[in-house]
Every structure is written in structure tokens, then in C-alpha cells.
């Protein structure tokens, strides 16, 4: 469903963040991208939904070349790709329900959305997705009154409102404690398995990679150094990706 070919990204300051990155993602996969901070993981995800413009290369999503899309066509593509963030990026002063509804902005008229007139269907749907992520009963709470794990689940509900076929998760558990991390990852797995949403997830912890991923992609200095099943990452690969000094830290 997604084919990235010879993707290059050079930032205005000269940083070559991604070097000839090519990979395919099949429908229903749970792809995990690992690598050190600054290895280009976040840039890669943001190139896929075009929050960042790529320098060269091509991205084919559902058979359509999206790397040069603009305006309405780009918005249509983005609406099919959900995204959750390390810092959740919610609207802190809005209610849980209203935050979820922002996932439906693309199919709501500009004026209607400004006036807060979302369709009854969308409201029903939002409540449904809040239930999916275990936030039912909290619809009226303010988003900033939720705990970290709950905020991330709200971020997922917002992404689900887009009816995405692909979900990008940019270090979704990096600001959470170990126990909460597992809960959040379990919900991601549930979305992957039950709703059939393909997932691309950036992660730091190798133990989580083996537990949740169906395929792994390792980045080092903007280049792919490993591509294959999670079990294939042994001690040797680990040192290649994270450097000789690195030691694996578990998360239980």
C-alpha cells in the first residue's frame, strides 16, 4: 500500500537527514522504525504525510504518487493517514470529545467547524472511538486534565476519526512510564488487528519492538541499515544500529 523510493531529505541548514531511503509497507503490517535520536526517524514519518517536503524521491500511497501533491489533493491524502505524536499535541483547553472531533475537520465545512457544528454521525463516531481507546465517561473532561497515557489514547481516537488506512506513530510512548507504555502499545496493536489499520511506529525500546512489530526498519545517520523481521535483530545488529558502547535496556 505504501512504497517509498530513494527518498532524500536535506534541510536548509545542510543536514542530510534521509539518504536514499527505500522500503515497502504491506496492508495490515505493524512496521517499527528504530534508530538513535537524530537518525531521521521523525523526518521519515513526516515526509510520508508531507508535514515535511522531501528533497527528492517518490512516495506511492495506494497507487498514487503523493510526493508532489498540493492543496485539496494533499489534504485528501493526509486525511487517510492518521498520526499520533510523542507530546500528544492535543488542544489542552478543549474537551476530550471536541479534541476527538478535530479528526473530522477534513469532512466538516470551514464555517461549520469554526461554529463547532460537527455532524451528529461524527459525534456518535467520536464517542465510539473514545470507547475503543477506553476513554468512555471522560468525554466532557478537559484534555489537559487527563494523565499522559490517557492523552495518548485521546490522540489515537482523534487519528481514528479520520478513518485512516495508515497510522503513523512518532515515538508514542517516549514520554510515558513503562507500565503506561505497554497499555498504549496494546491499544495500537488492537487498532492494527481489529480495525485493520496499517501502522508505522517509531520506537526507542527494542523489547517493545520484538513484542509488537511484524517488521522492523533500522535507520542510522539517515540510511537504512536493517530491514526484516524483529527476531533478526541480534546483539550484532544492535551494536551496528546503536553503536559499540550501547547496552540493551529492557522495559517490563
Amino acid at each position: 500500500m505504501l512504497a517509498v523510493k530513494k527518498l532524500n531529505k536535506i534541510y536548509p541548514n545542510g543536514t542530510h537527514a534521509l539518504k536514499n531511503v527505500s522500503f515497502d509497507v504491506k496492508k495490515g503490517e505493524f512496521l517499527i522504525i528504530i534508530g538513535l535520536s537524530g537518525s531521521g526517524k521523525s523526518t521519515l514519518l513526516r515526509c510520508i504525510n508531507r508535514l515535511i517536503d522531501l528533497t527528492s524521491g517518490s512516495i506511492i500511497f495506494e497507487g498514487v504518487e503523493i510526493s508532489k501533491q498540493e492543496g485539496a489533493a494533499l489534504r485528501k491524502t493526509r486525511s487517510k493517514i492518521g498520526m499520533v505524536f510523542q507530546n500528544f499535541n492535543l488542544i489542552p483547553r478543549f474537551s476530550v470529545l471536541k479534541n476527538t472531533l478535530t479528526g473530522a475537520l477534513t469532512r466538516t465545512g470551514t464555517l461549520a467547524s469554526i461554529l463547532g457544528n460537527f455532524s451528529k454521525e461524527d459525534e456518535k463516531k467520536a464517542r465510539g472511538f473514545l470507547k475503543t481507546v477506553g476513554l468512555n465517561g471522560k468525554e466532557r473532561s478537559r484534555a489537559d486534565n487527563l494523565s499522559g497515557g490517557e492523552q495518548q489514547r485521546l490522540g489515537m481516537a482523534r487519528a481514528l476519526m479520520q478513518d485512516p488506512i495508515l497510522l503513523l506513530a512518532d515515538e508514542p510512548v517516549a514520554s510515558l512510564d513503562p507500565a503506561t507504555s505497554h497499555t498504549v502499545m496494546d491499544y495500537l496493536k488492537k487498532i492494527n488487528k481489529e480495525l485493520g489499520v496499517t501502522i508505522i511506529c517509531n520506537l526507542h525500546f527494542l523489547s517493545l519492538v520484538r513484542e509488537y512489530g511484524t517488521k522492523v526498519l533500522a535507520l542510522k545517520d539517515g540510511e537504512i541499515v536493517y530491514q526484516g523481521p524483529p527476531d533478526g535483530i541480534d546483539e550484532k545488529w544492535f551494536k551496528t544500529i546503536y553503536g559499540e558502547e550501547a547496552k540493551e535496556v529492557g522495559i517490563n
Binding site: L51, N89, L90, I91, P92, L105, T106
Partner: protein, 341 residues
């Protein structure tokens, strides 16, 4: 590199020219020779400029340690690792400061003799007694004028809000760096706003009093123009300080540009905006009083009239009313701003 040499030489030339000119015209002519009206010709500043250029060129080539320009533009020459008082250029800076201090004291006609003279102290006593025994006979008239001032400030603030709100988005750097067209709009708008803001409301009041005639309307327009410029700047700075993450998240849902601003930016800035606006109203009430002095209407105009007639008891009452209003506005605006934090 070359432009740094140029600017450091230019700065030194200007500083030395100023030093020569101030020393010659004020310290030598006025203070040492005690000439009341020393002869002036445009040749004098020109000579000082040439002397300044020669001096700074000599310093540039032979004594670079003395150069203030080098210290600013070339960090290596500043010898920052040396103790403060062992950097040679510091003494040049002290010399220029000292000459400016002497000249400044002379030009401002600072005189302790005048301040403590017998007739001076008697005058002070007279006016203070009058101010502390206000004439309540004009209470009604003054209160009406005060109400005029408060309403004037209110309308000026109210009209400024929507205009400043819209302009602030176009004056926010983080929203305007997307395309070249936006960049041009941003640059032009910033320039106009800075220019407008740098002109004091007092001067706007003079302009508008010629335009629409003397009275509260001209004062209101003056405050409004200045408020638009100030609020736009405060608002846009607030927009620049927002958390970009929310904007990113809303963009990633496939939202349209207006929706991105409405959901990704507006919720984060609404409270600071309200706070700034109330503070601005408070400032406007104070400024409205001053603007009245040049015919902007309200209590300021009344103050100017009674001051012109040297009716100090009446002035005393007006000062009392103004102080009360300013105090009340200040308290109310602080309370509201604390409440919405």
C-alpha cells in the same frame, strides 16, 4: 568579513566625531570660555567628522585595542578573557560617557541654586497648598469630562481589537514563512506597524485634531491607531510563542488552512489576548488624559484650560479625579487578568 571592518571603522568614526564636537562646542565654548551663543557653521561638524575619521584610522592601524568598533564587531580584539578594567577600549568608552555627562548636565540647565531658592520654594508651597485644597465647585463638570475620557478609551480599544486580531496573524513569523508572497506581506505589515507604533499617540492626536477637528473623536482615533499597532505586535508575539505541535497535529488530519489556524493556534492564544486587551484599555484611559492636553477632549482638555488660567485649586480637583480613575482602572485590570490566568 569586509563589512565588519567597514562597520567597526564607521562606528569609531562616529564616536570620535561626536567626542570632538561635544568637547569643542559645549565643554570648550560654553563651559570654559562661557560664550552664551557660540558661532556655529556647518564647517565645524565637518571638521570634527574628518578629525574623527583620522583618529579612528590611526587607532585602526596602530592601536586596535582602543577601538570600540573592533571590540563589538570582532570578539577576538575585545580580549574578553582580560579583566574588565584591563581592556583599553573600556577607557575610551568612559571618556565618551564622561563628556556626555558634563554636556548633558550643562544643556539640561541643572541648577541646585534654582531648586532651593527662596522664591522657588515659596512658589512650590503656594501650588501644593492649592492642589491639596481642591475646588469641589467644578465637580460636576469634571466628572462629565472624566466619563468622556473613559468612554473614549473604551471605544478606541474596542475598535482596535478586531483589526489587531486579524493583522496579528499576518504579522506572526511562524505562520508567514510558508510562501514568498506571505513573506512579503509579513515584512511590509511589520514595517507599517513598527512605524505606526513609534509615533506617539500625542502626535497622532495632533494629526487627527487637524483632520476631524479638536475633540474626543480625534483623541479616540489617535488612541485607536496606536492601540492597533501595539496590540498587533503583542498578539503576534503570542502567536509566535505557541506550541507548534498542535498545529502539526491539526495539519496532519487534512484540515484546511483556516481550520488549522482556528484549532491549532486560536485556543492557545485566546487567554493572553484577553489579558493584553484589558491591559491596553487600562493604558488607553491613562493616555486619553494626556491626549486631552493637545485637544483630544475629555478631562485632559479641562486640565489644560484650568492650568492655562493658573487656577490651581481647580487643577487640584482634576488631578484628584485622574489619580482615582487610574488607580481604579489599574486595580480592576490586575484583578481581571489574575482571574483569567
Amino acid at each position: 568579513m569586509a563589512h565588519r571592518h567597514f562597520f567597526s571603522l564607521l562606528l569609531d568614526t562616529l564616536l570620535w566625531s561626536y567626542t570632538f564636537l561635544a568637547t569643542h562646542k559645549i565643554i570648550y565654548n560654553k563651559i570654559i570660555m562661557s560664550i552664551r551663543y557660540p558661532e556655529f557653521s556647518w564647517g565645524q561638524p565637518l571638521i570634527c567628522l574628518i578629525l574623527g575619521l583620522i583618529t579612528s584610522a590611526l587607532i585602526y592601524f596602530f592601536l586596535p585595542g582602543l577601538s570600540i568598533g573592533r571590540a563589538i564587531y570582532f570578539k577576538t580584539y575585545a580580549r574578553l578573557n582580560r579583566p574588565f578594567f584591563k581592556r583599553p577600549y573600556i577607557y575610551v568608552a568612559f571618556l565618551i560617557f564622561f563628556i556626555t555627562l558634563i554636556s548633558g548636565l550643562y544643556v539640561s540647565q541643572v541648577s541646585l541654586r534654582e531648586f532651593f531658592s527662596h522664591s522657588g520654594l515659596m512658589g512650590a508651597k503656594r501650588i501644593f497648598i492649592a492642589l491639596f485644597t481642591p475646588n469641589f465647585g467644578i465637580l460636576e463638570e469634571s466628572l462629565f469630562a472624566a466619563i468622556e475620557t473613559i468612554y473614549m478609551a473604551f471605544i478606541a480599544t474596542l475598535f482596535a481589537i478586531p483589526i489587531a486580531f486579524v493583522l496579528s496573524f499576518f504579522a506572526a513569523k511562524n505562520l508567514m514563512m510558508g510562501s514568498p508572497l506571505f513573506k512579503i506581506i509579513y515584512t511590509i505589515l511589520r514595517f507599517i506597524l513598527n512605524l505606526t507604533r513609534s509615533i506617539e499617540p500625542l502626535i497622532w492626536a495632533i494629526i487627527f485634531s487637524v483632520w476631524v477637528g479638536i475633540g474626543p473623536f480625534s483623541g479616540m482615533l489617535a488612541l485607536c491607531i496606536h492601540s492597533i499597532a501595539s496590540l498587533s505586535k503583542l498578539y503576534s508575539e503570542q502567536i509566535e510563542a505557541i506550541d507548534q505541535g498542535t498545529m502539526e497535529a491539526i495539519t496532519s488530519t487534512g484540515a484546511r488552512p483556516v481550520q488549522i489556524v482556528w484549532f491549532g493556534v486560536v485556543p492557545q492564544i485566546i487567554l493572553p489576548f484577553v489579558s493584553f486587551t484589558i491591559y491596553r484599555w487600562d493604558i488607553n484611559v491613562r493616555m486619553a488624559t494626556i491626549i486631552g492636553l493637545v485637544g483630544g477632549g475629555g478631562i485632559g482638555t479641562l486640565l489644560m484650560q484650568y492650568q492655562g488660567l493658573a487656577k490651581w485649586n481647580e487643577v487640584g480637583l482634576l488631578v484628584l479625579i485622574i489619580a482615582t480613575i487610574v488607580w481604579a482602572m489599574d486595580t480592576i485590570s490586575t484583578k481581571i487578568r489574575q482571574a483569567i490566568k
